[in-house]
């Protein structure tokens, strides 16, 4: 049963990341391949505060969210100058840079060895040690994230972001501030990723750079493509389906040594298959 | 008949846009395909070009049913479409656009060559080294037309070629279409909203309404008929 709970917890954390990526890539059309880097920064900030005992969980999470808002806005700024393919390249570079920092800055991140022993999350002094308690917490967090995404999308704000994805110039000609809208979307996406990072670190109690590398960013994009762009349902379905697959793989008797590569292979095949045969994903629209 | 449609129906998704289309174009002939916006004219041209597959009926070219022949093969046989909007490569220069298309369309005998295009539109000659996407809308339209007639297709389909062109250029362009048709036996199928100009140019007129043909005949018959309430 714990096994199933842990699947649910992880999937809910990835729902927050899926919302973040969908908002940026699906809704606004800023094709970022560095969302895992922002996720990582959130995770390391919360871990460092908890390990050093400087802040408790919720304040640490708030600091991580703010830091990731600022970071994501900075990372997205190049999209205002360079568009399309060039931004993807820029974003790719940012992700590689982040992985390098995570791996080498041993003082803050523990380097390649990672940070073990991150304390479990606590709410106002009550530590959430039971898996079911944590599941309750992540369910509330993911639920709030979904509510925020839903409210934003049905408001004039969501409409404005979708219009920007289609034609920035026409939005400017209609008298709208494109810059402000893009920056605010990046901020919102940053907050989601930062919170997801903090929750992830405290649940796993161990983090290392492999969770925040390019593969992880591509996994987030795959979730958006498989789930479906621009819809709340797509952002939820994607993580649940993709995280279920490795579990299913374990039912097939394959040696653990090839399990990781088998998983990557499966993700890659899915990404291609969906892009070609079902670009609207399971429950969304075309990217 | 160089081009013949027999009972053609076509559409997008679950929607059938045109149905029961039957008409033909002879070599050297200019047929104007007229109708209000949304009547199905562009869909008809796309079906002939192979960009959409017919749901019923048959498109024949030079006596041969085209079936599901790919677009490139249709082009190689001499069917050409000047699409609505601009059929150019915006990141290439004017000269590159022309060279790319000229290289694909051969240069035997009396066929129209790059020099003929530059002679027709001197402004393209002046702008050979300009990135074509940075030219004005009308100039891009001239280039698109120039690309469409390179190598002299056997059947040229023009989708609203006059959009955005200054009046005297529209005259020149239509005159050029007529000359090429007369001199080289090219057939032309012209979709145009400038009805007066199109009727002056065409040998035959086909009028569509809501995806069906409501009139086919000579321009003078069209003028005398009661089909104009469709516009």
């Amino acid at each position: 049963m714990d096994y199933f709970y842990s699947y649910l917890i992880l999937a809910e954390i990835y729902v927050l990341l899926g919302l973040s990526t969908n908002l940026l890539v699906g809704v606004v059309g800023i094709f970022s391949v560095s969302q895992a880097a922002v996720f990582g920064v959130g995770a390391y900030i919360v871990s460092d505060f908890l390990l050093s005992g400087t802040l408790s969980f919720l304040p640490a999470l708030a600091v991580a969210a703010v830091a990731c808002i600022v970071l994501n806005v900075l990372l997205t700024l190049p999209s205002l100058r360079v568009s399309g393919d060039y931004f993807v390249v820029t974003s790719f570079g940012i992700q590689l840079l982040a992985t390098a920092v995570f791996t080498n800055w041993t003082g803050g991140t523990g380097g390649a060895n990672g940070l073990p022993g991150v304390p479990p999350p606590d709410l106002f002094g009550f530590p959430l040690e039971e898996t079911r308690q944590i599941l309750g917490f992540t369910t509330v967090a993911a639920g709030l994230g979904c509510l925020a995404f839903w409210l934003a999308m049905r408001a004039p704000y969501g409409r404005l972001l979708k219009a920007i994805r289609e034609d920035e110039l026409a939005v400017a000609a209609a008298g709208k501030d494109v810059l402000r809208a893009k920056v605010s979307a990046a901020a919102l996406a940053g907050a989601f990723a930062g919170v997801a990072g903090g929750v992830y670190a405290t649940y796993m109690s161990f983090i290392d750079p492999s969770s925040f590398d390019l593969d992880a960013s591509v996994l987030l994009l795959t979730m958006v493509v498989v789930g479906g762009a621009r819809t709340l349902a797509g952002s939820i379905v994607g993580p649940f389906v993709l995280l279920a697959l490795p579990q299913l793989l374990q039912l097939v008797a394959i040696p653990t040594t090839v399990a990781a590569s088998a998983r990557q292979l499966l993700y890659g095949v899915l990404l291609i298959a969906f892009a070609v045969f079902r670009p609207q994903g399971l429950a969304g629209e075309r990217l | 008949m160089i081009l013949e449609l027999a009972g053609v129906a076509a559409g997008y998704g679950s929607k059938t846009v045109v149905s029961d289309l039957s008409f033909g174009v002879e070599p050297g002939q200019i047929v104007a395909l007229l109708g209000h916006n949304g009547a199905g004219k562009t869909t008809t041209l796309k079906t002939v070009m192979g960009l959409i597959a017919p749901r019923a009926g048959e498109v024949r070219f030079d006596g041969q049913a085209l079936g599901r022949m790919p677009v490139a093969e249709r082009v190689a046989r001499g069917i050409r479409l000047l699409p609505e909007g601009r059929g150019i490569f915006p990141d290439l220069t004017v000269a590159e656009n022309i060279d790319v298309v000229a290289a694909r369309t051969g240069a035997q005998g009396a066929m129209l060559k790059p020099a003929d295009v530059y002679a027709l539109f001197p402004v393209l000659d002046e702008r050979r080294a300009t990135r074509s996407g940075s030219m004005s809308g009308g100039q891009q339209q001239m280039l698109a037309f120039g690309l469409a007639i390179l190598g002299t297709p056997r059947c040229l389909m023009l989708d609203e070629p006059s959009i955005g062109l200054q009046p005297n250029l529209v005259e020149r362009l239509f005159g050029q279409v007529r000359d090429v048709c007369r001199a080289h036996g090219m057939a032309a199928l012209l979709v145009e909203q400038n009805v007066a100009a199109a009727m002056g140019l065409a040998d035959r007129v086909v009028i569509m309404n809501n995806g069906r043909i409501v009139f086919e005949g000579l321009p003078e018959e069209a003028r005398a008929s009661n089909v104009w309430h469709y516009f």
Binding site: A155, R159, E166, A170, A172 | G38, G164, L169
Partner: protein, 254 residues
């Protein structure tokens, strides 16, 4: 007294091409001014300069006596000038109504904090905005197409929709780039009637148009642009009768 819109001494080079060459003209309030001229004469470029999408190398644009130098496009819309595009630039995956909603001046719920923390207020105000947008659609005769995605509208309907989106901005000076091109006679008459109605409602229109019949029927004043410079101006009859202009532009009767 200064003119309603005044363009003076504008020069704009693109690489080796002098797109605008000491371009200057003025237009009066309340009229329909048509701008004609050969392809590449700089008509769309001057639109881009007036609406802040291009900063000219030299020269000024003044609106109601106020210089617009260096203002960003959204500031110019706020000042009361809005434009449409030759290639429409509608949001084709949004509905007709949503396109008009984007045109309306910014309101509550267009920034994330309002949308997230005052959802009911946002929804209430958005309902009011939808009603407003619906009025604009009715104005151009598209009310029954409000919920349709733009990609499913006919070309004529899309052209009308660009005018509705333009109207939504509330701008008083409307710059229209070829609003009638590619329209069948019926739709053409509809667009011309709409433009005249807008004039009657107090809008001022500057229209780029190649269709001589349209120019004759709607223009109070015609500006003739050639090689980036104002070559002539006058009434439609004066411009069309000018043999020099006929030579470079109009040609024989079409």
């Amino acid at each position: 007294m200064s003119a309603y819109l005044e363009v003076s001494g504008v020069n704009q080079r693109f690489g080796g091409l002098q797109a605008l060459n000491d371009c200057g003209f003025a237009i009066a309030q309340g009229g329909i001014t048509c701008m004609v001229g050969p392809n590449g004469a700089g008509k769309t470029t001057i639109f881009n300069v007036i609406t802040g999408f291009l900063r000219p190398d030299t020269g000024h644009v003044a609106f109601r006596g106020r210089r617009l130098d260096g203002l960003r496009p959204q500031a110019i819309v706020a000042a009361g000038i809005a434009r449409s595009f030759q290639n429409l630039r509608l949001f084709v995956d949004l509905t007709a109504l949503e396109n008009v909603l984007i045109g309306l001046p910014s309101g509550f719920g267009e920034a994330p904090l309002g949308a997230l923390f005052r959802p009911f207020h946002t929804a209430r105000l958005d309902r009011a905005r939808r009603a407003q947008a619906m009025e604009r659609l009715e104005h151009v005769g598209l009310a029954d197409r409000a919920a349709e995605k733009v990609r499913n509208l006919s070309y004529g309907e899309q052209k009308l929709l660009t005018v509705a989106r333009l109207l939504a901005t509330g701008a008083e000076l409307l710059l229209l780039d070829e609003p009638a091109s590619g329209l069948a006679a019926g739709a053409l008459d509809q667009v011309m009637a709409l433009l005249r109605r807008l004039q009657g409602e107090g809008k001022t229109l500057l229209v780029v148009e190649h269709n001589t019949r349209v120019v004759q029927q709607i223009a109070d004043h015609v500006l003739f642009l050639h090689q980036g410079h104002l070559m002539a101006e006058g009434t439609p009859a004066q411009i069309i009768a000018d043999p020099a202009l006929a030579e470079i532009y109009f040609g024989g009767a079409l």
